[in-house]
Subunit: 385 residues, 2 copies
């Protein structure tokens, strides 16, 4: 279906029309004419499809009865609690991931990277469920699946083989988790992980919760291997909390190396922990994408599949008050997210996939702080809301 979206303001600029053909932006500019169906934008703000770079679709209780959270405070408590809950609850990762993916799409997210638990208890059950969701949503939504060793890699023998099988089955990205704090041996854990990624030609996305100098040493070990194995541009670090609490000179040095090796940060803007300082990362040339992390699951009751709200939380965490600062938070859920995850043909230019979102707001800064209802969502040229 072809269409013409008339009188919209891309990112707050002057009003233009957008011609859509075969799922792509055919032209964008003032006064376009074509034979297509016309949708009148009435001067609304036009945003590109939003990008979620870090979530866990498979874990969510979205739409289910309230989950009463009585979990202990440590990372290990949360991991063990979730394994118990998963085993006992009959949780359907396929149905739940589909439910949440649809809600993301309704809120204007057209590209999404999700981690999926792979461990020796759940096996590949979650993976199969989320691969089915990826297929079901193909067309309007581009979903990347990360095979994620939630219970550790070295820590649980048999996990390596499951991760390899996940990549064979079609996982897009290889995930990692705290090579030192969870696996107890950063060098050995990372050697295995990088070897597996290389063998299958897949990018890496490593959860790094490790704090301070412990995390910085692991980050150095990741950067060493990225350089030695030629994985430049193929490695992202999720959370990377250590960048928020090492001393400034150490952080600056790490950022220089990360920029040179094109190692990106994916942040949730966690309010309760030190986080990678967004402005400093960007100034150093390190790309920062943003994500919700889990939404309504056994880990956290919080979250909403709305990337404008996530941008707001990133903005609050980084004290971004000026319009030009808030634009950085918006970039993390749009262009920077697409670059970091490698989503192709992204943006508001001719030739890009026609992923278009209309909201009532003066500009990008207002869209982030006000999080207005999505007035129109077009995904790959199709009106989905």
């Amino acid at each position: 279906m072809d269409l013409l979206l008339r009188n919209v303001r891309p990112l707050g600029a002057g009003a233009v029309d957008v011609a859509v053909r075969d799922g792509r932006i055919a032209a964008i500019g003032p006064g376009l004419r074509c034979e297509a169906e016309v949708i009148e934008g009435e001067g609304a703000l036009l945003l590109p499809g939003l990008v979620e770079s870090h979530t866990h679709l498979d874990k969510t209780h979205w739409g289910l009865p309230w989950y009463v959270n009585e979990v202990g405070p440590r990372l290990e408590d949360r991991i063990a609690n979730e394994r118990r809950w998963r085993a006992g609850s009959g949780h359907d990762a396929g149905a739940q991931s589909l439910r949440l993916a649809r809600e993301f799409l309704a809120q204007g997210t057209t590209r999404l990277r999700t981690h999926v638990d792979v461990d020796t208890e759940a096996g590949l059950k979650h993976l199969h469920g989320v691969l089915a969701t990826r297929e079901a949503m193909r067309g309007p939504m581009e979903i990347q699946v990360v095979a994620f060793p939630q219970s550790g890699l070295l820590a649980r023998p048999g996990t390596f083989e499951l991760l390899e099988e996940s990549l064979r089955l079609g996982a897009d990205v290889l995930g990692g988790l705290d090579p030192q704090a969870i696996d107890g041996d950063a060098a050995a854990s990372l050697d295995l992980l990088f070897a597996l990624a290389l063998r299958h030609g897949k990018p890496l996305d490593i959860h790094l919760h490790e704090a301070g100098e412990e995390g910085a040493r692991t980050l150095d070990a990741i950067l060493d291997r990225t350089q030695a194995l030629g994985m430049q541009g193929k490695v992202a670090i999720s959370h990377c909390f250590c960048l928020g609490d090492v001393v400034a000179a150490r952080r600056a040095a790490l950022l220089v190396r990360m920029a040179r090796l094109q190692v990106a940060v994916i942040s949730t803007g966690t309010a309760s922990r030190p986080v990678p300082p967004l402005k400093e990362c960007v100034a150093a040339g390190v790309a920062v994408a943003a994500g919700n992390d889990g939404i309504r699951d056994a880990w956290t009751p919080y979250g909403r599949p709305d990337m404008l709200e996530r941008a707001m939380l990133v903005g609050l965490r980084n004290n971004l008050r000026r319009d030009d600062e808030i634009a950085l938070a918006f970039d993390a859920v749009t262009h920077a997210g697409a670059r970091v995850c490698g989503f192709a043909d992204y943006g508001l230019k001719a030739g890009c996939r026609a992923d278009l979102v209309l909201v009532q707001a003066a500009n990008v800064a207002e869209a982030v702080v006000a999080r207005p209802a999505r007035q129109l969502v077009i995904a790959a040229g199709q009106v989905v809301r």
Copy 2:
């Protein structure tokens, strides 16, 4: 108007009915009968009217065209920028405070404490505007006005007299601001402030942004005067960031003193700074209320007059994930807020003011994380939404 609210679940407990007479809860319990108009609650979650303990109604641009923020990063930049903006913009603090107060009420907030700028440039203009709003909203909404020296007290001669005039005109609370960092002399500034509060029999609410040991020394000076002058239970510290970044033993000692002197904390759950740790404060017996601080003004573009969202932000900042932890964030925007500000007849008991909010949620934790639309708001016995 009398009414009977049928089949509602107070704070998630079993369903009851609520009888309202003359603006108060006449009875609450199962199977009530009366001649009043009946509103069917259909098992919705019943919350008490929400409490905003720290905002700045007079500053807001709510409902006005987008304010492009290009302000410098320091506290002094923000204060000076706002003074320039106020002088040049013809800002109408009366109309704007009324607009935002109405939106707070529509979102279920029935009690609210607002700071109002009093300084030698604005004079009493903002105060007159907000006192008019307090009058206009009297009935459904109880508004407390804090006479707040936004530009400093000692720092700007003439401010003391304006504050005193504000109290004579009916301000409910005396405000203070960074006695050391802004006024440059904590002892002299606090001596003036406490003397003024005592002379007029008003409680104190002091903005304390001062960090670390500087803030802790000022806090000690506040506690010394609270004790010496018999102001126990009459002093609240807004922000009190220093409690978030002094060493643990120092914090513990300060909290013991604060609990003994009934000095409360009013926090916004600021994501970008250390904040008073909510659980530790409450465990020490220090009451913690919550507020938005400014909403859409020259200081910050963020904020929404929705105290459930504020509770969520407090929860995220304090990493409150368990249901019983989230209840603490909820308390900060309900019962604890009312206690700290001294709002009387508050709660879901017979005899209390009938401030009642219905939402679709299983329990308090879900109300905080999901922030559902307000289905019904009753303020002092009147349906206002």
